[in-house]
């Protein structure tokens, strides 16, 4: 066990939702979305989370980012439980853990200029300082220039918007970036731009990355370590190479065999 605690971790987290009641006087049923999950990410590490639709990936990110309180279990930021933390500690957590969402078109308010949208995190987290310098710096990091600030989201392509969403997440200088299927809505060629950018950020800024996807090959490209989640449980964790070449859990085998590649398609044994 390493002496430094992980930047962000969850221990034994369980979360259940109630079904909407089917009849007025029947008690609503519950079903468990996350079941005793342990998950962590160290400083500067890129961790992947793969699983089918409905496996509980988005729920996990909501709990990891403190948007939802788990019914049982703890969420630890630098070793301290975020739900026990004082206001100052919580503010630091909010600033340090940022999120990138799946659909770039819907993650920016269509009626808000890019400049305003990028300042949103600073305003809401009450961070002072010269934001203009920070804006220029962050836009540079995602490969855009300041001419973007005065424009509205509809003037950009999906790939550019996802860069802007990443820039917004980078504004408060976070330690952890949680990306929930950040490339699922993008075309292959654009997808490559965004994946490369995320990789650069981890390498150049020492960011920690939690990367969620349903496609194992995308996760393998971006992360050092990946967990497979199925039915609300983590069924296997390891380096992506291992998961790909020697999958142990049947759910992992399923995901591996579901990956289509051009070569397997051409050789005629993809389906």
């Amino acid at each position: 066990m390493s002496p430094v605690p992980p930047v962000l971790a969850m221990e034994q987290v369980t979360q259940a939702y109630s079904h909407p009641r089917t009849a007025l006087f029947r008690a609503p049923g519950t079903f468990t979305v996350l079941d005793c999950i342990d998950f962590h990410v160290h400083a500067g590490e890129a961790v992947g989370l793969v699983g089918e639709s409905g496996a509980g990936k988005t729920t996990l990110t909501r709990i990891l980012t403190g948007m939802e309180k788990p019914q049982s279990g703890r969420v630890l930021f630098e070793g301290a439980d975020i739900w026990q933390a004082g206001p100052a500690e919580r503010a630091r957590f909010r600033r340090s853990v940022q999120m990138v969402l799946q659909n770039p078109r819907s993650s920016l308010d269509p009626r808000m200029k890019i400049g305003t949208a990028l300042l949103e995190p600073m305003r809401s987290l009450r961070i002072d300082g010269n934001h203009l310098d920070r804006l220029t710096e962050v836009l540079g990091q995602v490969g855009l220039d300041t001419s973007a600030l005065e424009r509205f989201p509809h003037e950009f392509s999906g790939g550019q918007l996802q860069r802007i969403a990443i820039a917004r997440a980078l504004m408060p200088n976070p330690r952890v970036l949680v990306a929930d299927e950040p490339v699922s809505a993008l075309d292959v060629s654009i997808q490559a731009q965004v994946l490369n950018l995320l990789k650069d950020l981890v390498r150049d800024l020492g960011l920690s990355l939690v990367f969620i996807a349903h496609d194992l090959s995308v996760v393998a490209y971006t992360t050092h370590r990946a967990s497979v989640i199925a039915g609300g449980r983590i069924v296997e964790t390891g380096p992506p190479v291992e998961l790909f070449t020697r999958p142990k859990a049947p759910q992992t085998q399923n995901l591996v065999s579901a990956v289509l590649t051009v070569n397997s398609g051409l050789s005629g044994n993809a389906l």
Binding site: G158, S189, I190, S217, Y221, N254, A258, T261, A270, L271
Partner: protein
């Protein structure tokens, strides 16, 4: 007697006012053949499909010829077209939710198609619908037939859509991104099903997607579309193994697959810089030139046509070059 082509498209132009989303596209899908149409978002794939189906948005117009079953579909009246839709030519859409009627039971919706086109009684149509659902590997078909669309999963909905499309043994099925909204495991099941079902019924398939592996797995020929034109066209094996157009090459190199990356996290993906141009600001000459690594002045001024190489390119990718990531 067998028909030579399930569909033949000649010089199709689709546009609204002075903008064209499809700018002179020609291809043919032979009977029982399977062709892929691939390209980035906004390249005009869906508009091509909509023109073939006669389902263009209001104000949009199609010119050229679309030969199917001995007639030019573009000259048919709305009534004649709609009697063909679902019968000799049918379509599976990307978003199954918005193409199923939310307030009708799914079994009834399949039966409607059969009843309308095959002239059988409602009762017989319903029996056939259940039968079809069984063939689609849907669990408990009798029960599922009574479900409403919102009560079933995305993969199940897409299977229902395929069942509806196949109900009347059409000569051609157009599938527009049928698995893009599904996750990878469900995607594979749906593709497998679509593959087997079209073969069984001798239907030709036009598969539209931006996902190259899907095309590689499903199709015999492929047409690569960029900015409303086909830039490369040929057998899948040839085009994907030895791409000649720089756009095709770029798409292949951007795939994050086992063949393309080292799994220790050290490699970088090749990416095509820039983005697809909007309709009203198409570059001159070869529309791909602002993003092309091999562009010259000639590319900027005059538009190449598809030639013997199978690609519309002034400086085709040399055949010997191995298709691997260039950083």
């Amino acid at each position: 007697m067998s028909v030579p082509n399930a569909i033949e498209v000649v010089d199709l132009v689709v546009g609204v006012d002075e903008l064209s989303a499809v700018r002179g596209v020609s291809f043919a899908v032979p009977a029982r053949g399977r062709m892929g149409l691939v390209g980035e978002s906004g390249s005009g794939k869906s508009m091509t499909a909509m023109a073939l189906m006669g389902l263009l948005p209001p104000g949009w117009q199609a010119r050229g010829r679309v030969l199917h079953d001995g007639v030019d579909l573009l000259t048919l009246s709305d009534k004649a077209l709609s009697s063909r839709r679902g019968r000799t030519i049918s379509m599976v859409f990307q978003d199954p939710m918005s193409s199923l009627n939310p307030v009708r039971r799914v079994g009834d919706q399949i039966a409607d198609v059969i009843h309308r086109h095959m002239g059988v009684t409602r009762r017989a149509a319903h029996a056939q619908a259940i039968d079809l659902m069984t063939q689609m590997n849907l669990p408990r078909p009798e029960q599922l037939a009574r479900a409403f669309p919102h009560q079933i999963s995305g993969g199940q909905k897409q299977r229902i859509m395929i069942a509806m499309a196949l109900a009347c043994y059409p000569q051609l099925i157009i599938a527009d991104e049928p698995t893009t909204a599904l996750d990878v495991t469900v995607q594979k099941q749906v593709l497998r099903l679509l593959n087997a079902a079209t073969r069984e019924r001798n239907s030709a398939l036009l598969m539209i997607t931006h996902d190259l592996p899907v095309i590689a797995a499903m199709c015999d020929t492929v047409a690569v579309m960029y900015a409303g034109r086909i830039v490369e066209h040929g057998p899948v094996q040839k085009v994907f193994r030895t791409p000649r157009h720089h756009y095709t090459r770029g798409l292949l190199d951007s795939q994050p697959t086992m063949d393309n990356i080292a799994l220790d996290g050290s490699s970088r993906l090749h990416s095509i810089p820039g983005m697809v141009p909007p309709l009203h600001a198409l570059p001159s000459g070869c529309a791909f030139h602002p993003r092309c690594p091999a562009a010259t002045d000639r590319c900027r001024t005059s538009m190449p046509e598809i030639d013997a190489t199978g690609a519309a390119c002034w400086h085709p990718v040399p055949v010997a070059a191995p298709a691997e990531a260039a950083s």
